[in-house]
Homo-oligomer: 138 residues x 2
DNA sequence: GCTTATTTCATACTTTAGTATGAGTTCTCA
DNA sequence: TGAGAACTCATACTAAAGTATGAAATAAGC
């Protein structure tokens, strides 16, 4: 937010400077009109591109961000969410158990809870639902 | 491609018109310098935004396209690819069988072939691999 | 301190997934 | 027309996945 304010301030300053500069140049006849127009055109073209890029970049990031509020809403615990992420990478219960240093039956319990909370019948469906809810990275 | 050429042509024409217009206006003293500068600034700002938007839009579309060459490379048949897509939506073998009007054992055969061709141990892993290879929509 | 949620684990069970094998049918292409 | 690929299906099996239940340990909050 601070950056945006700073950029707009700089923009206004640049605009005023250009105004005065062009006025002075034209009245004294030191430089051609074409050059001034070209400079103005280039400056504002660049400004347009930069601002547009910033806005689109923010939009992109929003779509990739994980919806932490949704995770809370669903009542997923830390461990359950962890297991869900491992499921999405394609690991089996046994592999997840080894990775998290717990028994396979523990993972089964977590998986069952995750399925209930996500309202899924299978782990493959859970992956899809989780991605739609944007609670795991695509 | 035609659109791009057309846009650039229109851009050049607009530029020349602005040149002549500003020159005329300034020499005859009909309008203020500020107004002309403002118009030029706005026009090129808009041009910058539009061009930037077009480029980014194209980039976005490229990342969402399905890699048909990869599907051929992997040797996936039509039916196998169809089954793979259904797996990715979270359906069980039985549900896929009902959807495609074939028996469950047929689906099992297809799934087995898909797993071998994608070098996956499980269907969840197959989903991940398929998404990384960009052969199924994210 | 007591309650509650979380994490852990086990056992027993049902269901689904996946493998292996064989075989019949259809379609294409040389 | 005949060889090969693709699609279909069945049976029998093993391996995972998922459910249900109970229970113990721990951490967090009132």
């Amino acid at each position: 937010m601070r950056k945006t304010i700073f950029i707009f301030a700089a923009l206004v300053v640049a605009l005023l400077v250009l105004f005065q500069l062009s006025k002075y140049s034209l009245l004294t006849g030191n430089s051609s009109i074409e050059a001034i127009i070209a400079i103005i055109a280039i400056v504002f073209f660049v400004i347009g591109v930069i601002i547009n890029k910033r806005i689109l970049h923010k939009e992109k990031n929003v779509t990739q961000e994980i919806n932490h509020k949704k995770i809370e809403e669903l009542g997923l615990s830390k461990r359950e969410y962890e297991v869900l992420c491992e499921i999405a990478t394609g690991l089996s219960n046994k592999e997840i158990a080894e990775k998290l240093f717990v028994s396979e039956s523990t993972i089964k319990t977590h998986v069952s809870n995750v399925l209930v909370k996500l309202d899924a019948k299978r782990r493959t469906q859970a992956i899809q639902i989780a991605k739609e809810l944007q609670i795991i990275p695509i």
